[in-house]
Protein backbone atom coordinates (compact mmCIF):
# COMPACT_ATOMS: atom_id res chain seq x y z
CA UNK A 1 0.00 0.00 0.00
CA UNK A 2 1.02 3.63 -0.53
CA UNK A 3 1.55 5.87 2.49
CA UNK A 4 2.09 9.61 2.21
CA UNK A 5 3.39 11.84 4.97
CA UNK A 6 5.86 14.64 5.68
CA UNK A 7 9.20 13.92 7.27
CA UNK A 8 11.46 16.71 8.49
CA UNK A 9 9.49 19.13 6.33
CA UNK A 10 9.71 17.09 3.11
CA UNK A 11 6.74 15.31 1.55
CA UNK A 12 7.33 11.59 1.26
CA UNK A 13 5.44 8.70 -0.28
CA UNK A 14 6.37 5.09 0.20
CA UNK A 15 5.05 1.83 -1.13
CA UNK A 16 4.97 -0.88 1.52
CA UNK A 17 3.56 -4.41 1.60
CA UNK A 18 2.82 -4.61 5.33
CA UNK A 19 0.94 -1.57 6.62
CA UNK A 20 1.82 -2.65 10.17
CA UNK A 21 5.55 -2.28 9.57
CA UNK A 22 6.97 -0.19 12.43
CA UNK A 23 7.64 3.44 11.50
CA UNK A 24 11.19 2.94 12.85
CA UNK A 25 11.92 0.34 10.14
CA UNK A 26 10.77 2.78 7.45
CA UNK A 27 12.73 5.71 8.86
CA UNK A 28 15.97 3.79 9.18
CA UNK A 29 15.88 1.21 6.40
CA UNK A 30 13.82 2.86 3.66
CA UNK A 31 14.42 6.58 4.24
CA UNK A 32 17.97 5.98 5.46
CA UNK A 33 17.69 8.32 8.43
CA UNK A 34 19.91 6.51 10.90
CA UNK A 35 19.74 9.02 13.75
CA UNK A 36 16.72 7.30 15.25
CA UNK A 37 17.90 4.16 17.02
CA UNK A 38 16.58 0.66 17.61
CA UNK A 39 17.05 -0.46 21.20
CA UNK A 40 14.41 -2.93 22.36
CA UNK A 41 11.62 -2.95 19.77
CA UNK A 42 9.18 -3.22 22.69
CA UNK A 43 8.43 0.45 23.49
CA UNK A 44 10.52 0.02 26.62
CA UNK A 45 13.76 1.98 26.11
CA UNK A 46 12.85 5.11 24.13
CA UNK A 47 15.84 4.95 21.75
CA UNK A 48 13.41 5.13 18.81
CA UNK A 49 11.54 8.24 20.03
CA UNK A 50 10.61 10.73 17.33
CA UNK A 51 7.71 13.14 16.85
CA UNK A 52 4.49 12.50 14.99
CA UNK A 53 2.38 15.64 14.78
CA UNK A 54 4.61 17.20 17.44
CA UNK A 55 4.00 14.40 19.97
CA UNK A 56 6.70 12.04 21.20
CA UNK A 57 6.10 8.56 19.84
CA UNK A 58 8.06 5.33 20.19
CA UNK A 59 8.43 4.47 16.56
CA UNK A 60 9.22 0.77 17.11
CA UNK A 61 5.64 0.44 18.30
CA UNK A 62 3.94 2.67 15.74
CA UNK A 63 2.50 1.09 12.60
CA UNK A 64 3.45 2.96 9.43
CA UNK A 65 -0.24 3.16 8.38
CA UNK A 66 -0.86 5.62 11.23
CA UNK A 67 1.46 8.29 9.75
CA UNK A 68 -0.72 8.79 6.67
CA UNK A 69 -1.10 12.57 6.21
CA UNK A 70 0.91 13.38 9.32
CA UNK A 71 4.15 15.22 10.03
CA UNK A 72 7.10 13.22 11.33
CA UNK A 73 10.20 14.83 12.84
CA UNK A 74 13.35 12.87 13.58
CA UNK A 75 16.54 14.03 15.29
CA UNK A 76 17.85 15.05 11.84
CA UNK A 77 14.92 17.46 11.49
CA UNK A 78 15.12 18.90 15.00
CA UNK A 79 18.13 21.01 14.10
CA UNK A 80 21.63 20.73 12.66
CA UNK A 81 25.19 21.73 13.46
CA UNK A 82 24.74 25.21 12.02
CA UNK A 83 21.36 25.76 13.55
CA UNK A 84 20.89 23.47 16.54
CA UNK A 85 17.64 23.16 18.45
CA UNK A 86 17.99 24.48 22.07
CA UNK A 87 17.93 20.87 23.25
CA UNK A 88 20.82 19.93 20.94
CA UNK A 89 22.72 23.06 21.95
CA UNK A 90 22.30 22.26 25.65
CA UNK A 91 23.40 18.68 25.03
CA UNK A 92 26.59 19.93 23.39
CA UNK A 93 27.28 22.43 26.16
CA UNK A 94 26.80 19.88 28.92
CA UNK A 95 28.72 17.19 26.97
CA UNK A 96 25.95 14.73 27.79
CA UNK A 97 26.63 11.61 25.69
CA UNK A 98 29.01 8.80 26.45
CA UNK A 99 28.46 6.18 23.73
CA UNK A 100 25.62 8.31 22.36
CA UNK A 101 23.33 5.49 21.30
CA UNK A 102 20.36 6.50 23.43
CA UNK A 103 20.78 10.24 23.00
CA UNK A 104 18.62 11.04 19.95
CA UNK A 105 15.66 9.43 21.69
CA UNK A 106 16.29 11.44 24.84
CA UNK A 107 16.62 14.67 22.89
CA UNK A 108 13.37 14.05 21.01
CA UNK A 109 11.58 13.23 24.27
CA UNK A 110 13.02 16.40 25.86
CA UNK A 111 12.02 18.59 22.90
CA UNK A 112 8.46 17.23 23.19
CA UNK A 113 8.48 17.93 26.93
CA UNK A 114 9.64 21.53 26.50
CA UNK A 115 6.84 22.11 23.99
CA UNK A 116 4.34 21.16 26.68
CA UNK A 117 6.16 22.30 29.81
CA UNK A 118 8.64 25.07 28.93
CA UNK A 119 10.35 25.06 32.33
CA UNK A 120 10.01 21.57 33.81
CA UNK A 121 10.74 20.77 37.44
CA UNK A 122 12.89 17.78 38.39
CA UNK A 123 9.69 15.90 39.17
CA UNK A 124 8.25 16.65 35.73
CA UNK A 125 11.52 15.52 34.17
CA UNK A 126 11.38 12.26 36.12
CA UNK A 127 7.77 11.66 35.05
CA UNK A 128 8.24 12.44 31.37
CA UNK A 129 11.80 11.48 30.49
CA UNK A 130 11.75 7.77 31.16
CA UNK A 131 14.04 6.53 28.39
CA UNK A 132 16.94 4.24 29.22
CA UNK A 133 20.64 5.15 28.99
CA UNK A 134 23.01 2.26 29.56
CA UNK A 135 25.93 4.63 30.07
CA UNK A 136 24.01 6.28 32.91
CA UNK A 137 24.28 9.86 31.66
CA UNK A 138 21.13 10.79 33.57
CA UNK A 139 22.84 13.34 35.81
CA UNK A 140 24.23 15.28 32.85
CA UNK A 141 20.96 14.96 31.03
CA UNK A 142 19.05 16.56 33.86
CA UNK A 143 21.42 19.53 33.76
CA UNK A 144 21.07 19.70 29.98
CA UNK A 145 17.28 19.63 30.17
CA UNK A 146 17.27 22.62 32.53
CA UNK A 147 19.78 24.40 30.29
CA UNK A 148 17.67 23.65 27.21
CA UNK A 149 14.67 25.21 28.95
CA UNK A 150 16.74 28.37 29.56
CA UNK A 151 18.04 28.48 25.99
CA UNK A 152 14.56 27.97 24.60
CA UNK A 153 13.18 30.78 26.79
CA UNK A 154 15.90 33.14 25.53
CA UNK A 155 15.25 32.10 21.94
CA UNK A 156 11.49 32.59 22.30
CA UNK A 157 12.01 36.01 23.91
CA UNK A 158 14.26 37.18 21.07
CA UNK A 159 11.80 35.86 18.45
CA UNK A 160 9.04 37.81 20.20
CA UNK A 161 11.14 41.01 20.21
CA UNK A 162 11.87 40.59 16.50
CA UNK A 163 8.20 40.09 15.61
CA UNK A 164 6.83 42.92 17.80
Amino acid sequence: MKISFTINGTAQSIEIADENTPLLWVVRDILDLKGTKFGCGKAACGACTLHVGGEAVRSCSYAIKFVEGKEVTTIEGLGNEQNPHPVQQAWIEEVVPQCGYCQPGFMMATAALLNKVPNPTDEEIDQNIINVCRCATYYRMRKAIHKAAELQAVMNASTETQTS
Binding site: N20, P22, G41, K42, A43, A44, T49, E55, A56, V57, R58, C60, S61, Y62, A63, F66, A109, A112, L113, N115, K116, V117, E124, D126, Q127, N128, I129, I130
Partner: protein, 201 residues
Protein backbone atom coordinates in the same frame (compact mmCIF):
# COMPACT_ATOMS: atom_id res chain seq x y z
CA UNK B 1 -58.26 -7.12 68.20
CA UNK B 2 -60.54 -9.80 66.70
CA UNK B 3 -59.18 -12.78 64.87
CA UNK B 4 -60.66 -11.65 61.53
CA UNK B 5 -59.27 -8.11 61.87
CA UNK B 6 -55.84 -9.59 62.48
CA UNK B 7 -56.30 -11.79 59.43
CA UNK B 8 -57.20 -8.80 57.23
CA UNK B 9 -54.15 -6.88 58.49
CA UNK B 10 -51.91 -9.87 57.92
CA UNK B 11 -53.30 -10.24 54.39
CA UNK B 12 -52.86 -6.49 53.89
CA UNK B 13 -49.21 -6.60 54.88
CA UNK B 14 -48.68 -9.62 52.65
CA UNK B 15 -50.25 -7.74 49.75
CA UNK B 16 -48.08 -4.69 50.45
CA UNK B 17 -45.06 -6.95 50.45
CA UNK B 18 -46.03 -8.36 47.06
CA UNK B 19 -46.71 -4.87 45.66
CA UNK B 20 -43.37 -3.59 46.99
CA UNK B 21 -41.55 -6.62 45.62
CA UNK B 22 -43.24 -6.21 42.21
CA UNK B 23 -42.32 -2.54 42.16
CA UNK B 24 -38.59 -3.31 42.20
CA UNK B 25 -38.31 -4.03 38.48
CA UNK B 26 -39.78 -0.56 37.87
CA UNK B 27 -36.57 0.91 39.29
CA UNK B 28 -35.05 -0.09 35.95
CA UNK B 29 -33.50 2.94 34.32
CA UNK B 30 -33.09 4.79 37.59
CA UNK B 31 -29.86 3.08 38.65
CA UNK B 32 -31.17 1.94 42.00
CA UNK B 33 -29.49 -1.17 43.27
CA UNK B 34 -31.66 -3.40 45.36
CA UNK B 35 -30.58 -5.96 47.86
CA UNK B 36 -32.45 -9.12 46.99
CA UNK B 37 -31.49 -12.72 47.00
CA UNK B 38 -32.54 -14.14 43.66
CA UNK B 39 -30.44 -17.04 42.41
CA UNK B 40 -31.76 -16.85 38.82
CA UNK B 41 -30.80 -13.21 38.36
CA UNK B 42 -27.60 -13.87 40.26
CA UNK B 43 -26.37 -16.13 37.47
CA UNK B 44 -26.32 -13.35 34.88
CA UNK B 45 -24.90 -10.99 37.48
CA UNK B 46 -22.03 -13.30 38.41
CA UNK B 47 -21.23 -14.07 34.78
CA UNK B 48 -20.96 -10.33 34.10
CA UNK B 49 -18.93 -9.71 37.23
CA UNK B 50 -16.53 -12.58 36.47
CA UNK B 51 -15.63 -10.55 33.39
CA UNK B 52 -15.48 -7.16 35.08
CA UNK B 53 -13.26 -8.54 37.87
CA UNK B 54 -10.73 -9.90 35.36
CA UNK B 55 -7.32 -8.20 34.98
CA UNK B 56 -8.30 -7.09 31.45
CA UNK B 57 -10.85 -4.75 33.07
CA UNK B 58 -9.56 -3.96 36.58
CA UNK B 59 -5.99 -3.23 35.42
CA UNK B 60 -7.27 0.07 34.01
CA UNK B 61 -9.57 0.86 36.96
CA UNK B 62 -6.82 1.32 39.60
CA UNK B 63 -7.34 2.67 43.09
CA UNK B 64 -3.86 4.17 43.37
CA UNK B 65 -3.67 6.04 40.03
CA UNK B 66 -1.18 3.53 38.68
CA UNK B 67 -2.27 1.33 35.77
CA UNK B 68 -1.58 -2.36 36.19
CA UNK B 69 -0.21 -4.84 33.67
CA UNK B 70 -0.46 -8.56 33.13
CA UNK B 71 -2.40 -11.29 34.86
CA UNK B 72 -0.26 -10.72 37.97
CA UNK B 73 -1.56 -7.13 37.97
CA UNK B 74 1.88 -5.58 38.51
CA UNK B 75 2.22 -1.78 38.45
CA UNK B 76 2.76 -0.40 34.92
CA UNK B 77 6.46 -0.37 34.18
CA UNK B 78 8.48 2.86 33.85
CA UNK B 79 6.57 4.74 36.55
CA UNK B 80 3.60 5.57 34.35
CA UNK B 81 0.61 6.97 36.24
CA UNK B 82 -2.75 8.62 35.70
CA UNK B 83 -1.55 12.20 35.11
CA UNK B 84 -4.06 15.03 34.91
CA UNK B 85 -6.38 13.68 32.22
CA UNK B 86 -6.17 9.94 32.82
CA UNK B 87 -3.76 9.82 29.86
CA UNK B 88 -0.38 9.86 31.56
CA UNK B 89 2.06 12.75 31.83
CA UNK B 90 2.31 15.84 29.63
CA UNK B 91 4.82 14.64 27.01
CA UNK B 92 5.05 10.96 27.84
CA UNK B 93 1.54 9.67 27.88
CA UNK B 94 -0.52 6.65 26.85
CA UNK B 95 -0.24 7.42 23.15
CA UNK B 96 3.56 7.62 23.26
CA UNK B 97 3.37 3.82 23.14
CA UNK B 98 -0.32 2.77 22.88
CA UNK B 99 -2.10 3.34 19.58
CA UNK B 100 -5.65 2.55 18.47
CA UNK B 101 -4.94 -1.13 17.97
CA UNK B 102 -2.63 -3.81 19.34
CA UNK B 103 0.91 -3.77 17.99
CA UNK B 104 1.96 -7.30 17.22
CA UNK B 105 5.63 -6.37 16.75
CA UNK B 106 6.19 -4.71 20.13
CA UNK B 107 3.40 -6.45 22.04
CA UNK B 108 2.04 -3.09 23.17
CA UNK B 109 -1.74 -3.29 23.49
CA UNK B 110 -3.95 -0.63 21.94
CA UNK B 111 -7.56 0.31 21.25
CA UNK B 112 -9.48 3.50 20.46
CA UNK B 113 -9.60 5.93 23.42
CA UNK B 114 -6.91 4.01 25.32
CA UNK B 115 -6.82 5.58 28.78
CA UNK B 116 -7.30 4.91 32.46
CA UNK B 117 -10.82 4.88 33.81
CA UNK B 118 -11.42 8.15 35.72
CA UNK B 119 -10.48 8.36 39.38
CA UNK B 120 -14.12 7.96 40.48
CA UNK B 121 -14.29 4.60 38.76
CA UNK B 122 -11.73 2.89 40.94
CA UNK B 123 -12.45 -0.82 41.14
CA UNK B 124 -9.14 -2.25 42.22
CA UNK B 125 -9.43 -3.92 45.63
CA UNK B 126 -13.26 -3.74 45.71
CA UNK B 127 -15.54 -6.76 46.02
CA UNK B 128 -17.77 -7.64 43.07
CA UNK B 129 -20.81 -6.15 44.77
CA UNK B 130 -18.93 -2.95 45.57
CA UNK B 131 -17.86 -2.68 41.94
CA UNK B 132 -21.42 -3.25 40.78
CA UNK B 133 -22.80 -0.61 43.14
CA UNK B 134 -20.14 1.86 42.08
CA UNK B 135 -20.95 1.12 38.44
CA UNK B 136 -24.64 1.88 39.04
CA UNK B 137 -23.96 5.09 40.92
CA UNK B 138 -24.28 8.03 38.54
CA UNK B 139 -21.90 10.05 40.72
CA UNK B 140 -19.23 7.45 39.97
CA UNK B 141 -20.11 6.06 36.57
CA UNK B 142 -19.68 9.18 34.45
CA UNK B 143 -23.40 10.02 34.89
CA UNK B 144 -24.46 7.07 32.77
CA UNK B 145 -28.08 5.92 32.74
CA UNK B 146 -28.68 2.17 32.71
CA UNK B 147 -29.05 2.28 28.93
CA UNK B 148 -25.76 4.15 28.60
CA UNK B 149 -24.11 1.78 31.05
CA UNK B 150 -25.30 -1.21 29.02
CA UNK B 151 -23.89 0.40 25.89
CA UNK B 152 -20.54 1.04 27.58
CA UNK B 153 -20.34 -2.50 28.91
CA UNK B 154 -21.34 -4.23 25.69
CA UNK B 155 -20.36 -1.94 22.80
CA UNK B 156 -17.53 0.39 23.82
CA UNK B 157 -14.49 -0.55 21.73
CA UNK B 158 -12.11 -0.04 24.62
CA UNK B 159 -14.11 -2.52 26.71
CA UNK B 160 -14.38 -5.00 23.84
CA UNK B 161 -10.58 -4.90 23.48
CA UNK B 162 -10.58 -7.37 26.41
CA UNK B 163 -11.66 -10.14 24.00
CA UNK B 164 -8.93 -9.36 21.48
CA UNK B 165 -6.12 -8.38 23.83
CA UNK B 166 -3.27 -9.28 21.47
CA UNK B 167 0.11 -10.63 22.45
CA UNK B 168 2.44 -9.40 25.18
CA UNK B 169 6.08 -8.31 24.85
CA UNK B 170 7.15 -11.97 24.69
CA UNK B 171 4.66 -12.64 21.90
CA UNK B 172 2.44 -14.70 24.21
CA UNK B 173 -1.31 -14.16 23.73
CA UNK B 174 -2.95 -12.31 26.63
CA UNK B 175 -5.71 -14.12 28.45
CA UNK B 176 -9.20 -12.79 27.58
CA UNK B 177 -11.88 -12.55 30.31
CA UNK B 178 -13.26 -15.91 31.52
CA UNK B 179 -16.63 -15.61 29.72
CA UNK B 180 -17.00 -15.52 25.90
CA UNK B 181 -18.06 -12.10 24.56
CA UNK B 182 -21.56 -13.03 23.36
CA UNK B 183 -22.36 -14.86 26.58
CA UNK B 184 -21.15 -11.83 28.54
CA UNK B 185 -23.22 -9.44 26.43
CA UNK B 186 -26.33 -11.57 26.98
CA UNK B 187 -25.63 -11.66 30.73
CA UNK B 188 -25.28 -7.86 30.93
CA UNK B 189 -28.55 -7.38 29.01
CA UNK B 190 -30.37 -9.90 31.16
CA UNK B 191 -29.07 -8.35 34.37
CA UNK B 192 -30.12 -4.87 33.30
CA UNK B 193 -33.51 -6.01 31.97
CA UNK B 194 -34.18 -7.62 35.33
CA UNK B 195 -33.58 -4.39 37.19
CA UNK B 196 -29.80 -4.33 37.63
CA UNK B 197 -30.08 -5.98 41.01
CA UNK B 198 -26.97 -6.34 43.12
CA UNK B 199 -27.27 -9.39 45.38
CA UNK B 200 -26.90 -9.13 49.12
CA UNK B 201 -23.31 -9.14 50.44
Amino acid sequence: MGKSAFGYMFFGFLLMGVVVAMSYPSTKGENLSVLLDNPVEDEAYHKMMDVLMSPRCVNCHPSDNIPKQGDDRHPHYFGMARGENNLGYQATNCTTCHQTENNRYSGVPGAPEWSLAPDKMKWEGLTRNEIARSMLNRQHNGDRSLTELEHHLTEHELVLWAWKPGVDAQGIPREPPPVPLEEYRAAVKEWIENGAIVPED
